[in-house]
Amino acid sequence: MQRVVLTVAKNLPLTPLIYEMQLVGDVSGITRAGQFVEIALDGLYLRRPISVCDYEEGRLTLVYKVVGKGTDLMSQMAEGTELDVLTGLGNGFDVDYECRKPLLVGGGVGVPPLYRLTRDLIARGKEVSVVLGFNTESEIFYAERFEALGAKVIVATADGSVGIKGFVTDAIRESGVEYDYFYSCGPLPMLKALCSATTTSGEVSLEERMGCGFGICMGCSIMTANGAKRVCKDGPVFKKEEVIW
């Protein structure tokens, strides 16, 4: 964990409720895809955890959904705004897990952390397939960017307006996509359905209401097959076999 001041370089909507924010500054605290940052916001007591979409030297990309006061404040931030940010929180995905054909499954605002993961897996020579689930066409974002990275992309929409009609699990079944491991981030019901539908091992990024975000308050504890774990510190990424649904 590092505490740094980052400056908003860009903050634009991708869909009516999804925003992409670019921040510049020292992001060397971020070491793995699937980690998150915590942003202090004026007038709010607790920091807001936001997953890392992508990072490189001096630059961090966050893609977030406006769901409450904190993210609403973020969506109004102008370029040049300075933010107090804790970086490098959480364990992140195991990008070196031995597999050839990883399947990445994202649902809605769970899609962003898979972007950096796709980059890292493709850089390791893996054959990456990505299934992205959204409610409807107007909520789709980043699909073409995953393609641009060289991933095979399958889109599912609940209303069938684009791609396969149904949930990500329907898209996996109907597309017949081949995989030998999976990584996923999205709403809990999706992760649960995915873990029961998949035959291989995999890992899922969980979400839980947090207090501190760095492992001291026990606000976000879950019970796993390996005992009590903190989503913020021991997670947010857990092995499929660990999670008790």
């Binding site: 964990m1 505490r3 202090a40 709010l44 007591y45 607790l46 920091r47 804790l86 839980e208 209401r209 947090m210 207090g211 501190c212 760095f214 492992g215 001291i216 308050c217 026990m218 606000g219 976000c220 504890s221 879950i222 019970m223 009590a228 510190k233």
Partner: protein
């Protein structure tokens, strides 16, 4: 001029009065990766019970104006695991005296935990949290009546050799009566205040924000209440008081001490700023200089 930050709690010398409050610092491990925690006066470690506890269902946290509500439910690995695993780890990263925070749901549980932790060399003070419900008395918290608070105090004192501080709940009608009952029962000091009982409702979902409906409200919002209660109690008892509740700055530490606290705990602020205790300790000499304070212990309880 060199500013003297040292204080003394029942013969336990602290380099400074700043102590992270129980439940906001774990057993020090995570924070020791952030800064050298040996700058702290002491550490009050995560509330420990006889048996391992997972705690309450999630969500356990609710944001509030200038604070938060938590309903963690005393998640901890149990006293034997704390002694076997957590304390040896804590010893490696913290060389100062520590405060063992103990919770229980029966007098027997308090007695068992306190007598075990009393034997641990690095434990200098036992801090007994009496805000827990008494399972043998309809779930009423020990800390809500002078009689039950005194009963816990007496039972714990009978099996321990180290100073016992009773940590009081503010959710009572007469905190002074409870503090006095603890003092008369043999308490060596008082820590106050624990969290205030609070509740938030998600008006869109029409449900309480916290799974357990209610929880403990802490943070800067409760600071004035904590100062008031510390003032009332410190002037009513002869034993030392550790002030706690909403402390966020070096100025707050000074204010709490002027109200009557000998040492001060920092709680919720650690959750929003992991460097809170470090920054407060580094700022204290400058605040003392500005206020003309040479020796911090000189201001303890100066408000008549």
């Amino acid at each position: 001029m060199v500013r003297d930050l040292s204080v003394e709690l029942c013969g336990v010398a602290l380099d400074n009065p700043v102590i992270p409050a129980s439940g906001t610092f774990g057993f020090g491990k995570e924070m020791s990766e952030v800064y050298d925690i040996n700058i702290l006066g002491s550490i009050s470690f995560k509330g420990t019970t006889r048996d391992a506890r997972f705690g309450n269902p999630t969500p356990r946290i609710a944001e509030c104006p200038s604070g938060l509500i938590n309903s963690v439910g005393l998640q901890n690995p149990g006293v034997d695991a704390v002694i076997a695993h957590e304390l040896p780890e804590l010893r490696k990263i913290f060389r100062k005296p520590i405060i063992a925070n103990i919770s229980g749901f029966s007098i027997e549980e308090y007695v068992e935990c306190c007598s075990k932790l009393d034997k641990e060399e690095q434990v200098a003070i036992l801090e007994v949290n009496i805000s827990c419900p008494n399972v043998h008395n309809g779930g009423m918290a020990f800390g809500t009546s002078p009689e039950s608070a005194a009963a816990v105090t007496r039972a714990v004192k009978a099996v321990t050799t180290k100073p016992v501080f009773i940590k009081l709940s503010p959710n009572v009608t007469d905190i002074v009566a409870i503090a006095k009952a603890c003092e008369e029962a043999g308490a060596d000091g008082i820590t106050l205040i624990n969290t205030m009982l609070g509740m938030r409702i998600d008006i869109a979902r029409r449900k309480p924000v916290i799974a357990n409906k209610m929880g403990g409200f802490s943070g800067a919002a409760i600071f004035p209440i904590a100062v008031r209660m510390v003032y009332q109690v410190a002037h009513a008892v002869k034993i030392p008081v550790i002030g706690c509740g909403g402390v966020a700055t070096a100025e707050d530490v000074v204010e709490m001490m002027m109200a009557g606290a000998t040492a001060v705990q920092v709680g919720a602020e650690n959750l929003r700023n992991p460097y809170a205790c470090k920054e407060i300790i580094e700022e204290l000499p400058f605040v003392m200089e500005r206020l003309g304070i040479e020796k911090l212990s000189d201001i303890i309880g100066i408000i008549e």
